[in-house]
């Protein structure tokens, strides 16, 4: 108890908390979001109200982010499992009674707003894992036996999302969860085994093609082939990615100019408002723009990771670090996808793609990150806070 007594009690006043907010990070977030507003204006040809809608969402999200950031991080630790349980309940509810949207069940309609529990789950899972590893302490975190509860916590929401089916979100959930495990100190052996297992599975899938024990159906192999070479099926399954690569490549170094991307403006590019917004950006601003935006994102994540290093408690560190990694996975997969490096799995570009729930969930995540940063010196009593 004397140890806790030695530590400065953090009872920060509101102005102090404001001052401790990571303002450069907030500025960077706003900068990326602003790029999004311009892109919404472009794909809406200056007529659709998408830019204004996106701005409204961002402003609401900013309010939410700051509100969350100003709440003591220990409160968020307290409700971590509750949020996780609520997320699981939401996913079950979607599977049971969700409405059909975009060909898959993802939405839940709670009267005034349609809401995606899977977005909430991405934050809640990391929150719950951060608490779990905080509670068991750094030593046990490295032991194999203590992996099992964490793996179950990751597996449950992944399975529920895959039922919808939403492969992209499942991958993001899994990557977010593993990031948390890795940063919290899970054994290297686990990750090596994981990598070997995954490699073996991929090998098995390809090796089994055409044999008696073929693991996937023929059409699934066909999809893989089209992913590997989209020109095989330019009108069908490869259409989206083909048009995206044409748009991307035709932008050249300098781009075709703002609101002058022919592939985008003439509707050859599909889903340009959501999943393929980065393609539009690259078409209109060229490689100079695309690399700059990539640099902005990288800087944002590095800044998050750097801030995580300054947090003095395990809960906050793991929370901030894994949310940053989840954000990185988000844009990394989206960019790889539109450039034909990853299959088209329906992952939007964070902060830029059109979409309400995604924006709110992201801003909540940044709020949690900032809360951990504001309360970076907050003392936790050893295992029970």
């Amino acid at each position: 108890m004397s140890f806790l007594g030695e530590a400065p009690r953090q009872r920060l006043s509101l102005p102090a908390r404001f001052l401790r907010l990571h303002w450069p990070l907030i500025a960077l977030i706003a900068a990326v979001a602003t790029v999004g507003f311009f892109m919404m204006h472009s794909v809406g040809r200056g007529q659709a109200p998408w830019a204004q809608q996106q701005m409204t969402r961002f402003i609401v999200g900013c309010g939410l982010m700051v509100a969350i950031a100003l709440v003591d991080v220990r409160f968020w630790r307290k409700i971590a499992y509750l949020a996780y349980s609520a997320g699981i309940a939401g996913l079950v509810a979607v599977d049971v009674m969700g409405v059909v949207g975009m060909g898959a069940q993802r939405w839940i309609d709670i009267g005034f707003v349609r809401f995606q529990p899977s977005e909430l789950m991405k934050v809640a899972l990391v929150l719950a894992l951060a608490r779990y590893y905080h509670d068991i302490g750094p030593v046990r975190a490295g032991r194999l036996l203590w992996l099992i509860p964490a793996l179950l916590m990751i597996a449950a929401p992944c399975a529920l999302v895959l039922i919808q089916p939403d492969l992209g979100t499942a991958v993001l959930l899994g990557l977010g969860g593993f990031s948390a495990m890795f940063l919290a100190g899970a054994s290297w052996w686990f990750f090596i085994l994981m990598a070997l297992g995954l490699g073996g599975a991929v090998w098995a899938v390809f090796a089994s093609q055409g044999t008696d024990w073929q693991l996937l159906r023929d059409y699934q192999y066909r999809r893989i082939e089209v992913f590997l070479d989209p020109t095989q099926d330019p009108q069908g399954a490869g259409y989206h990615i083909n048009q995206s690569m044409i748009a991307f490549g035709s932008g050249g170094v300098e781009g075709k100019g703002y609101m002058a991307g022919s592939q985008t403006q003439l509707d050859f590019l599909p889903e340009k408002r959501t999943d393929f917004i980065f393609t539009t950006f690259a078409e209109e601003f060229g490689m100079i723009g695309a690399v700059s935006l990539l640099a902005l994102y990288t800087l944002l994540v590095w800044m998050c990771l750097a801030s995580a290093l300054r947090i003095r408690h395990s809960f906050g560190r793991v929370l901030a670090g894994s949310l940053a990694m989840a954000f990185f996975c988000y844009y990394g997969i989206n960019m790889a996808m539109v450039m034909g490096l990853a299959p088209v799995v329906g992952v939007p570009l964070p902060l830029i793609s059109y979409g309400g729930t995604s924006m709110i969930a992201l801003m909540c995540a940044f709020g949690l990150m900032l809360s951990a940063f504001v309360y970076r010196d907050a003392p936790f009593d050893s295992r029970r806070g």
Partner: protein
């Protein structure tokens, strides 16, 4: 315990730091990989993607060029492009197509079946595909729709072009018509296959439209438009309207041609009038005519069959494709061949008793009692057959054929028309090649009066007459007088190589036919001083007269059913002392040349020579022609 916990905390913190740095590095590597992919797509492969984007974005189409118009020598329209006012409606532009069509129906005459058809096409077709709702609107209707355009959403007024032949049936054989290219046309012209596939493209199928098609067609234009993924045109990038086809001025006089056809009444046949000094074809008529306009839009099968199966063969251009026995109009060639051979002098006299035996066959003169003693001038003037039997026997068929060919018999004239036939100028070699045995002597006698194997087209008759009129010079017929207002030079006259006195003897004889008592054309002479014509009648048998029939009495034409009556022919030039125009006529089953054909030529030539002075456009080139002839 506390120390252990502290050490654990410290270990966890260091481990976290290590792993964060590791992940940061991984992130940097992934970022570098993404940047490398950007470089690959946007720099290395950029040209390929840019080309693909342009293929998406641009829609290139060809524009059919406006076809050149055709006018007669005085600028009267023969073939023009009529504006075709059309209305299109597209589902994309109209909030309620049914309402739009109902509004249209209040403004213009829109038959119910047309409306239903348009509605059906609008419902089934693409959102952006315009559907033609009405065409061939009057200007008033079209203006009314344009005035109401703001209220008619989705309605696009459009002006297309449609070939129109205002002279209708009188010039159809010369001008011809255009129609949509057929499969064969496309295969025959692979260079222009894309142009020929255009829905509005028409090509010349007959007449001058066909022979001058390459210059009438013009040069195709091109349009590049930007389209979106649904094929909707966003804007026009570039447009090249191409070059319009050349304007043709023909040598024809459309009014005189119409008059000539009217003058022939309900006879079938052909009239050709030409300028003896430069070959200008002033009239080139074939009876009966046909209206070429239905061919442009695609003639119905029934209408085409009716034309094709008509026994008077309206689709046939008899002036160049009708091959007839010239009858007595051929006699000047035989007489000139006699003079040219040196074996016959103009004073050569033959006693005609109405018949000439050859072997076991008797050849008759048209005059039953015979003409008595006739010299060459009288033989032509009164068309004595026996006289020509006599000189033909003396000089032989090959000498006749040689002279005949100089006058163009058996040679297809060079004229800008399709389906020009050469006629037939038989000789011994021809007969041997065709029938495999030697020339029968009797055919020499038949040929001497333009019967038997000899065949000529009305155009060849006119060319022959022109050569006699101009003193023995070969004439090349000219149909295209000017291209884009620039004169087409007439081919120079060619000396046929006959001695002047011989040709003048023929001229005197032809003069006598028309202007001396007992001449076969005397009753049809032009009495106007200074405009008199010189000519030659002809009557071509279309049936054999059997000996038994002859014994009874040769029936007069009036007693025979029409299709057995003789063809009536007449060739003439005028004025007789300063020849300017040559004319030939064939009246199918008209009976006698002097009674039926000669009066028609008299009226046509009189009208031509006494018409009001030609307008400016024609004057200059006629003077030029005069200069060359002089």
């Amino acid at each position: 315990m506390r120390d252990e916990e502290l050490r654990g905390q410290e270990m966890g913190r260091k481990r976290f730091t290590r792993r964060v740095l590791l992940l940061g590095g991984v992130q940097g590597l992934v970022g570098a990989a993404l940047a490398a992919r950007m470089y690959h797509l946007q720099v290395v492969e950029s040209p390929r993607h840019r080309a693909a984007a342009d293929r998406n974005r641009f829609d290139d189409s060809m524009i059919a060029p406006p076809r050149g118009q055709i006018v007669d020598r005085f600028g009267r329209p023969l073939a023009v492009n009529k504006q075709n006012y059309r209305l299109f409606v597209s589902r994309d532009g109209s909030p309620d197509v049914e309402e739009t069509l109902a509004q249209l129906a209040r403004l213009i005459d829109l038959p119910e079946h047309r409306r239903q058809k348009a509605l059906r096409e609008l419902r089934t077709g693409s959102r952006f595909a315009p559907v033609m709702v009405a065409e061939n609107l009057t200007w008033d209707e079209f203006a009314l729709v344009n005035a109401n355009a703001p209220a008619l959403q989705g309605v696009t007024p459009d002006v297309g072009w449609m070939r129109d032949y205002p002279q209708k049936d009188s010039c159809a054989h010369v001008v011809g018509y255009v129609a949509t290219p057929s499969q064969q046309d496309q295969e025959a012209d692979p260079e222009n296959s894309r142009l020929l596939l255009l829905p509005s493209m028409k090509i010349g199928k007959n007449g001058v439209e066909r022979t001058e098609d390459p210059i009438l067609r013009g040069k195709a234009g091109a349009r590049r438009a930007e389209v979106n993924v649904r094929g909707q045109v966003i804007r026009e990038i570039s447009r090249d309207d191409g070059e319009r086809g050349a304007e043709l001025t023909l040598t024809l006089d459309a009014d005189l041609q119409k008059y000539a056809m009217e003058r022939m009444g309900d006879y079938s046949g052909s009239v050709v009038v030409m300028d003896v000094r430069n070959g200008d074809l002033i009239v080139l008529a074939s009876m009966p005519g046909y209206d070429p306009n239905p061919f442009v839009g695609g003639i119905s099968h029934a209408a085409w069959r009716a034309l094709n199966e008509d026994p008077l063969r309206p689709l046939n251009n008899k002036a160049v494709a009708g091959s007839y026995a010239p009858g007595s109009t051929f006699k000047m060639i035989v007489a000139l061949a006699g003079l040219d051979s040196g074996m016959i002098s103009p004073q050569h006299t033959v006693f005609c008793n109405g018949r000439m035996p050859l072997g076991d066959h008797i050849f008759h003169c048209w005059k039953r009692g015979g003409h008595g003693a006739v010299d060459m001038n009288r033989a032509i003037k009164e068309s004595c057959d026996v006289y020509f039997y006599d000189i033909a026997r003396r000089i032989g068929v090959d000498r006749i054929a040689e002279v005949g060919r100089k006058f163009g018999v058996g040679v297809a004239p060079e004229v800008a028309l399709p389906y020009v036939r050469p006629g037939v100028m038989p000789d011994r070699a021809w007969h041997l090649a065709k029938y495999g045995y030697g020339w029968p002597q009797g055919q020499t006698l038949n040929a001497s009066i333009g019967q038997g194997y000899v065949e000529m087209t009305p155009l060849q008759l006119a060319l022959m007459t022109a050569s006699f009129a101009n003193g023995g010079y070969g004439v090349t017929p000219r149909l295209v007088k000017a291209i884009n207002g620039e004169d087409v030079k007439p081919e120079p006259l060619v000396d046929l190589g006959f001695r002047r006195p011989h040709v003048e003897a023929m001229q005197r004889a032809m003069d006598a036919v028309c202007n001396e008592q007992r001449g076969t054309g005397y009753n049809a002479r032009i009495k106007l001083a200074g405009y008199e014509m010189a000519g030659k009648t002809g009557t071509a048998q279309v049936r054999r007269i059997t000996a038994a029939e002859r014994a009874r009495r040769v029936r007069a034409n009036e007693e025979l059913p029409r299709h057995l009556r003789d063809h009536a022919l007449f060739v003439a030039y005028a004025p007789r002392h300063d020849p300017r125009y040559a004319c030939s006529i064939i009246v199918e089953h008209g009976g006698g040349g002097s009674a039926v054909a000669a009066p028609m030529v008299r009226d046509i030539l009189t009208r031509l020579m006494t018409r009001p002075p030609p307008s400016e456009a024609a004057g200059s080139s006629e003077e030029a022609a005069q200069g060359r002839a002089g």
